[in-house]
Every structure is written in structure tokens, then in C-alpha cells.
Symmetry: C2
Subunit: 199 residues, 2 copies
DNA sequence: CACGGCGGTTAGCGAGCGTTAACCTGCCCT
DNA sequence: AGGGCAGGTTAACGCTCGCTAACCGCCGTG
């Protein structure tokens, strides 16, 4: 199940193009006229759909952070409800994150590059969502690797996020193996990196 | 041996502060007046030392890319000259990169965030240096893990860079364990992630 | 059939930015 | 003693950018 279908409303279309452009050239590097042009309207027409440029970035970042957290919670919940081992919950978290990283590359890029271009209030909200997502991982990692101290678990999780988010940053993604191969590779690496943290 | 001593010339002082500010708020998010203020002079005085704002970013990115590549080459060279196993060359590469990531956090951040704010010519130069550094790693990884296909080796190396570069991106680095612990942790994780790539 | 609002248009404003100009001061060197 | 240059200063320019204003056509509805 892909997380984002092709846009049906003009709003979604704008968000889609804005995320692409922001990821390519940075929030400050893209003008509103450019975003408008990308959807076939021009400049100020965007203000019929959004309060301003900031509002677009806010909506994108809150959206992806929420989806990451909620998706993670759901996966852990499901694994627990089915009585499966914590290690399976962890693998599910990894798979879910990989799907995100490979299918919503632009959003992942924004997510860890443009956070501090947000107005204070929104930034706090996004950071809270991100923190909850991290803590969810830390919880599950500590269940599967009980000898790992909490601060190291958190650092290890951050490192694995860096690993999983590496491919969207590639300037020439065509150099990658096909999707399935890349996904499997990242999965193996993430799992091993977390296991190695404990030693 | 740290890579960058405390600045003695005004030029170095400016570069130091500029890198800090660029890393914190992004290249477009920092004004020249602000950079000037950070070193106690104001605005246009910077033009006595640099051709422009772009030139500062260029010098920072070319500098760090060169140092990464040259340091990597030196380490591999040394290991080979001493007749040590490829696995030791790999571990030396990992250690060197970790030193960079932990000691020059701001530069590492710029290095993979602000590359495309560079004028075309400089960007090409930096990308070439980065590519050479990556290929150096890929070479060594393929010696230590011969069954790993080249494209997957390259993807695995990129992923490990993401892992190693994760800590500089942390907004609150105080949450990390102490330096030695963090370095050891990252080293274990990177090594394991590369080994797991082969399977 | 009028009409209201949705979603566009172009013109233009005001702020902030990088950069240049013009000027000044102290130090080194002969 | 004097002159030049290194390294500052402030003023100002011009451009870009986000955003607002003013206007307009289409379409669904009472």
C-alpha cells in the first residue's frame, strides 16, 4: 500500500510539486512563482489554497511526521496484538520506514533538512511527532537488545535513521539497484547495525 | 590530531563562524551582516576577504571534501604499504570518518545539505571529490566483501555514510553518550552494516 | 436569470538581501 | 615624513521575493 496516491485535488497537486521543488533546491531556494508554474497556474494563485509559503512546508512536515509515527505505532500494535516477538515488531518498523524512504523520497529529504525553516510553533509540533517516533523505536530496540543502555539505544536508532534515509539524498538515484534489491539491502544493514550496537 | 586548529587568521575565523551559521540555519537563511557580526566586524567588510557569500561556501565545501578524500587515501595507502589486510584499511577509513563527523560537525552537515547552493562549476568540483572518496570506500569494501556486487557495494557505502553522518544532524547533541562511547558505537554499527550487506 | 463565490489573472508594494561605492584610519616600509 | 595598502566604516543601490490588491470569468444554485 503506497502512502500517497496521485493527487486528485489542486491542493494535493500543489503539495506534491512543492515537496519536489523544496527537496531539490531547498525551501528558501524556491519561489512561489516557481511552485505555481509547476502546477500550471502562476504565483499568487497559490494563496487561494494556502495561507502562505510557510503553511505549505508546515503541512508537508506535519503530514509526514504524523504518518511515520502513526504507521510505526500501528505496526508495533499489530505485532503485540498478534503475540509476536519484539524482534518481529522491529523488523516491521524497519520495513515500514524503508517503504517511506523509497516511495516518498522528497518528503524524507525535507523531513530532516528543512525543519528549522518552520515558524517556532509548528517546529515544536513536528519535533514532538519526530520524538515520539524515535521513542517508539527505542522502546522496541530495548526489548530486543536489553543489554543496550538507553542513551546508546537512542544514538543507535538515530544512526539507523541516517542509514535508511541515505538513499533519498542521492543526487543520481539511477545508480541504485532495483527497488526490491535496495530495500532488502537496507533491511539487512539496519538490522545488523542495531544488533551490533549491543555488543 | 584534530583536523582544524583554532583560527589564527581573520579569514579562518570567518570561515569557522560561517560554517557554524550555515549549518544551523542554512546557506540562504544567514545574511552577510550576521556572519560579519559573528566575528565582530560588520557586513561588507567580509568582501575584503572573500569575493562573495558563494565563495565562502565554496571554500568550505571544497575544503572538507578534499580533506575527506585525502585523509582516506592516506589511510588506505598506509595500510597497504604496511602489508595489512584490507579489513584493517576499512576499519581505518571508518575511524577517520568518525573523527571527522564528531569533530567537524558543522562541516559534515554542510557537506551533504548545501551542495546544490553552489554555482555550477564549483559544484562539479566538489562532486568529483566526493565521488572519488566514495569510490575509494567501494574499492576497499569490495576487497573485504568480494561477493558483494558493485552497485550494492556503492549503495551500502552511501548508507553507511548516512549512518556515520547522523550524529551531526542532531539538534540536541547533549543527548549523546560521551565521545569515546559514541565513536565506538558508530564504529561497530558501520562495520556490521557493511558486513551484512554481503549476505 | 440573476448572482455569489471559487479560482484564476496582472500590477505593484515593501522588506530584505548581496553587493558596490566612497571614505577613513593606522601601520609598515623606505 | 610620507605614501600606500590592508582592513575597516556607513550609505545606498538594485534585485528578488513573499504577499496583497483589484479585477474577472465561470458555474451551480434559488
Amino acid at each position: 500500500m503506497t502512502t500517497h496516491a496521485t493527487p486528485r485535488t489542486r491542493r494535493e497537486q500543489i503539495l506534491r510539486e512543492a515537496s519536489r521543488l523544496f527537496a531539490e533546491r531547498g525551501f528558501h531556494g524556491v519561489g512561489v512563482d516557481e511552485i505555481g508554474a509547476a502546477v500550471g497556474i502562476s504565483g499568487p494563485a497559490l494563496y487561494r489554497h494556502f495561507a502562505g509559503k510557510d503553511a505549505m512546508l508546515t503541512e508537508l512536515l506535519v503530514g509526514i511526521s504524523s504518518r511515520l509515527r502513526d504507521g510505526g505505532r500501528r505496526r508495533v500494535e499489530e505485532a503485540r496484538a498478534a503475540g509476536r516477538a519484539p524482534s518481529e515488531a522491529l523488523e516491521s518498523l524497519i520495513s515500514g520506514h524503508i517503504d517511506f524512504a523509497l516511495d516518498d523520497r522528497a518528503l524524507i529529504t525535507l523531513h530532516d533538512r528543512e525543519l528549522d525553516r518552520l515558524p517556532e510553533a509548528d517546529r515544536k509540533r513536528v519535533r514532538q511527532l519526530q520524538r515520539q517516533y524515535v521513542e517508539l523505536w527505542v522502546e522496541v530496540v530495548r526489548e530486543t537488545h536489553p543489554r543496550l543502555p538507553e542513551d546508546q539505544a537512542r544514538a543507535a536508532v538515530h544512526a539507523v535513521f541516517g542509514l535508511l534515509n541515505s538513499t533519498p539524498h542521492l543526487s543520481r538515484p539511477s545508480a541504485l539497484p532495483d527497488r526490491a534489491t535496495t530495500a532488502a539491502l537496507l533491511h539487512r544493514q539496519a538490522l545488523a547495525a542495531l544488533a551490533a550496537a549491543e555488543r
